[in-house]
């Protein structure tokens, strides 16, 4: 088969003449999204460096991907729209052109309409940034590859439908279908399975969604291959297509069940989500949601047959109901034993009990969130792992922690066979045994180290320590810094979890350290000149015997500022989603508030348990008194009149 028999110039010229506006609009959209931002950057900073250009291009690249998707779906859908009308399908296929010729000729047209605007915009940008053409060339190549993938996919999809609107919708639906199904699985898992951890999009499905960085990393080769596969599939679909099926929603009968059950599934899910808000009970909602799925089947049959009188619906309704029963059994009855599964200790390589976003990242408990995995409290020691497994087993057996006010506890086991087992629980104080085991886990050094990096042995370089008493900051000299850091490390290691969550203190230690910055691959940078400064604040609890002794010796422990240096205390009361404010200026009121703060300042844990009702005290000091404004949360103090 020669190239001439595969591509016809007349067809391409005709396409160009009829659909030129697609290419022009695409070019304009790219111009607005790429050239204009570049122009702005270069006007603002004519001496722009390579790094800045690079980061600008990263943003441009991502934006252009979003523009490419709709244009590259629409272009083939319109080019192949002749397949969807009775007269045009006859006119086109009476011509002495093989279907392959029509298909590849239109694909060439699509390639011109989608690639040419990218090339033109790239050429325009090259004239603007003469010194760094490689980024532009890379952007051009990646954009064309992505456009090629979407165009070939849309062309293949156009062969499957008998309606242009369906031809546009199908690729969009397919693109979002993985997200949808993933969402369904997450909802079912979270709703039914105790301990289920939302998995997010499975890694193999993430390939569907391009981002500029991943294209740079090598996804593009996969996309080129996928594009070629889609082109071949499209050619095959065209060859198999029965032309008399124009105007039908789906050109192939085999796709009808996919469409029908897909719509039923969507309708069922929509019904479930709606009803779950009304009924709260997920099991009731899911069964009541079943009729929505059946309605989906009826609607699908109406669309397929283009009639308000659907036919052949009994069998699919029975099949759908049976499928739902199986799904409910799978999740509702936990026939796979998901909830009860606790791995054997011997099969565990390590376990991670990270709690990002939980109370441990709260500043009131002295930690700041560490967002790199290397700070995860991973337990390798067998005794430590045994404690986690014991806690896990107790949770599973007791079903503890289903109440609203609870401590989050995610557990991730890395098993020796290379697999991963992830669970997430909510632990409350209601079950004493579970909470005791939970405290034991929290007291393990690696876990404690997550919230209190001071106990780690990672050779962190500490640069400064200050003592803070309700806004009064005292700089310690280097010799005292060493003493207090050693004392703090020992005290934190000695403290129990309960002490750390239920003690009182108004004295804090602000500790500066230098930590490695991370490169773009999240690896620490060795060059210390690029390290970042980190400041962590540590509460000094009464149980911190070593710290308290030193601070008392230095006269720096739990000092309440004198009332006459305080200008006013502003109190905001947060109740659920709204707040009220009060201003305390009377000396007695200020003293009363300070006493309340002193008694409750560290009970953020309990504040968390107050259903979102707490007070925020902002202490405003008079000028030139050496104090800075201080803000602290505490349980509600009675007797305050709010505006």
């Amino acid at each position: 088969m020669s190239l001439k028999s595969l591509i016809n110039k007349s067809v391409i010229k005709s396409d160009m003449r009829r659909y030129w506006y697609l290419g022009v609009t695409f070019a304009l959209a790219l111009f607005v999204a790429t050239v204009l931002p570049m122009r702005r950057v270069l006007l603002l900073r004519p001496d722009t460096g390579a790094d800045f250009i690079h980061s600008t291009f990263a943003a441009i690249g991502q934006t252009s991907l979003f523009i490419i998707v709709p244009f590259c779906i629409l272009t083939p859908a319109l080019l192949f729209s002749y397949l969807h009308h009775k007269s045009s399908v006859c006119e086109t296929h009476r011509l002495p052109l093989r279907r392959e010729c029509l298909y590849f000729s239109h694909l060439v047209s699509a390639a011109v309409l989608t690639a040419l605007p990218i090339i033109l915009i790239a050429a325009l940008m090259l004239t603007m940034v003469e010194t760094l053409p490689s980024y532009i060339l890379l952007w051009t190549a990646l954009s064309i590859i992505y456009a090629f993938l979407i165009t070939s996919f849309s062309a293949a999809a156009s062969m499957l439908v008998g309606n242009t609107a369906a031809g546009v919708m199908l690729p969009l639906i397919v693109m979002f279908l993985p997200l949808f199904f993933s969402g369904v699985m997450e909802i079912l898992g979270s709703g039914y399975l105790y301990g289920y951890v939302p998995q997010g999009l499975p890694s193999f499905l993430r390939w569907i969604y391009a981002d500029y960085a991943s294209l740079l990393e090598g996804k593009m080769y996969v996309y080129i291959a996928a594009g070629i596969v889609f082109i071949a599939l499209g050619a095959w679909f065209y060859r198999m297509r029965r032309l008399e099926n124009h105007t039908r929603i789906l050109a192939f009968d085999a796709l009808n069940p996919v469409f029908m059950y897909g719509l039923a599934f969507c309708a069922g899910l929509a019904g479930y989500m709606y009803l779950s808000v009304i009924f709260y009970d997920r099991i009731i909602s899911m069964w009541i949601g079943l009729p929505f799925g059946i309605i989906g089947i009826i609607v699908a049959r109406m669309i397929i047959s283009k009639s308000f009188k659907p036919t052949k619906i009994l069998k699919p309704i029975i099949i759908y109901t049976a499928m739902m029963c199986v799904l409910y059994l799978f999740y509702g009855a936990d026939i796979t034993g998901f909830e009860k599964r606790v791995p054997d200790i011997d099969s565990i390589a390590s376990v991670n009990v990270t709690n990002y976003g939980g109370f441990r990242s709260s500043t009131n408990l002295n930690g700041e969130t560490m967002y790199t995995s290397e700070n995860d409290p991973t337990l390798y020691d067998k005794e430590d792992i045994e404690k986690v497994v014991a806690l896990h087993r107790a949770i599973v057996e007791s079903g503890a922690g289903k109440s609203e006010n609870a401590y989050g506890l995610p557990i991730t086991y890395k098993l020796k066979d290379g697999s991963e087992l992830r669970r997430s629980y909510a632990v409350t104080k209601d079950n004493e045994e579970v909470f005791r085991l939970f405290c034991e886990v929290e007291n393990l050094k690696p876990v404690k180290c997550e919230r209190f990096p001071i106990v780690g042995d990672d050779g962190t370089e500490y640069t400064n320590v200050r003592v803070i008493n309700l806004g009064a900051i005292t700089q310690l000299d280097p010799s005292r810094q060493e003493q207090i850091l050693a004392a703090l490390k020992q005290d934190v290691l000695n403290a129990s979890y309960t002490e750390l969550t239920n003690s009182e203190s108004i004295t804090r230690l602000s500790v500066d350290s230098r930590i490695p910055s991370l490169d773009e691959n999240m690896n620490p940078i060795e060059d210390k000149s690029h390290w970042a400064q980190q400041t962590l604040e540590y509460n000094v609890y009464p149980s911190y015997a070593n710290c308290v002794a030193l601070l008392k010796e230095w006269g720096l422990y739990n000092i309440i500022p004198p009332t006459d240096v305080i200008d006013k205390i502003t109190v905001y009361q947060y109740t659920g989603t709204y707040s009220k404010a009060a201003f305390l200026t009377d000396k007695a009121d200020i003293e009363k508030a300070l006493a309340h703060i002193k008694a409750n300042v560290d009970n953020m844990k309990d504040i968390d348990l107050l259903n979102g009702t707490y007070q925020r005290f902002t202490i405003g000091y008079k000028p030139d008194t050496g104090y800075s404004t201080y803000m602290v949360d505490a349980p509600c103090m009675e007797g305050i009149v709010f505006e």
Binding site: S87, L97, E244
Partner: protein, 298 residues
Amino acid sequence: MIEVKNVIKRFGDFFALNGVNINVEKGSVYGLVGPNGAGKTTVIKCMAGIYRQDGGSVLIDGKPVYENAEIKSRVAYVSDDLYFFPGYSIKDSAAYYSGIYPNWSDERFKEIADVFKIDEKRAARRLSKGMQKQAAFWLGLSTQPDVMILDEPMDGLDPVMRRNVWNIMLAEVANRGMTVLVSSHNLRELEDVCDHVGIMNNGRIAIEKGLDEVKGNIHKVQTAFRDGLPDELRTSLDILKHEMAGSVDMLIIRGDSGEITDKIKKYSPLLLDVVPLTLEEVFIYELGGMGYELEIID
């Protein structure tokens, strides 16, 4: 030239074509007639290479038509439902076809222009239905086809233009040996131009013969007997229809006219008159015998 052998075409569970056999000889004008829904357009679309048949074969010069660019380049198809690209004039369409049909002739396009008298720069979609039909003939004939397949071709054309179009096509038949297959309900017109006729019904060809043969095998006989039509004649003649007009018997009889006359004369009729049938009458009476009859509503 055109051979349709046992062609089957299904639309879902419905058999639109159920073993169609058609033979069209080179240089002939073949009229395809049949009631609505008989399958004429479907078989034509198979012949034009648009539909893929589910069974049997459609051949032109012994080669399959479907997906055969070489054969299709020699076929011009004028459908009942015309399509022109949006914004395209006849001139634009001509330019488009010239890049697709290897036998496209600009000279021929210019020659025929005088017949049609349409401004070639006008957007084809804005033309009247009749003018669009003319444009379709204009473009189709400019491809210098060996085969022209026409589906209700004269629908919308005025009588003068019909005659002009047929004159051009018959000249092509005479000069170049072009083959024409035409489907139409205008049987009077087909009678003037066709040399062969195929009558389709229920997805099959019921009758396929030369026009003279078709017309020569069925006759309208007006006769009268003193004691009425003898019973022996009722059984010995292949009578398709029998009506009485007073004492005169009006008979539609299939068979050779000489034999029919001889048989009737044996019974000394008071009146005997054999009248030739038009193609339309042949169509009505033949299909009447197949259960597709005229309904007379009082």
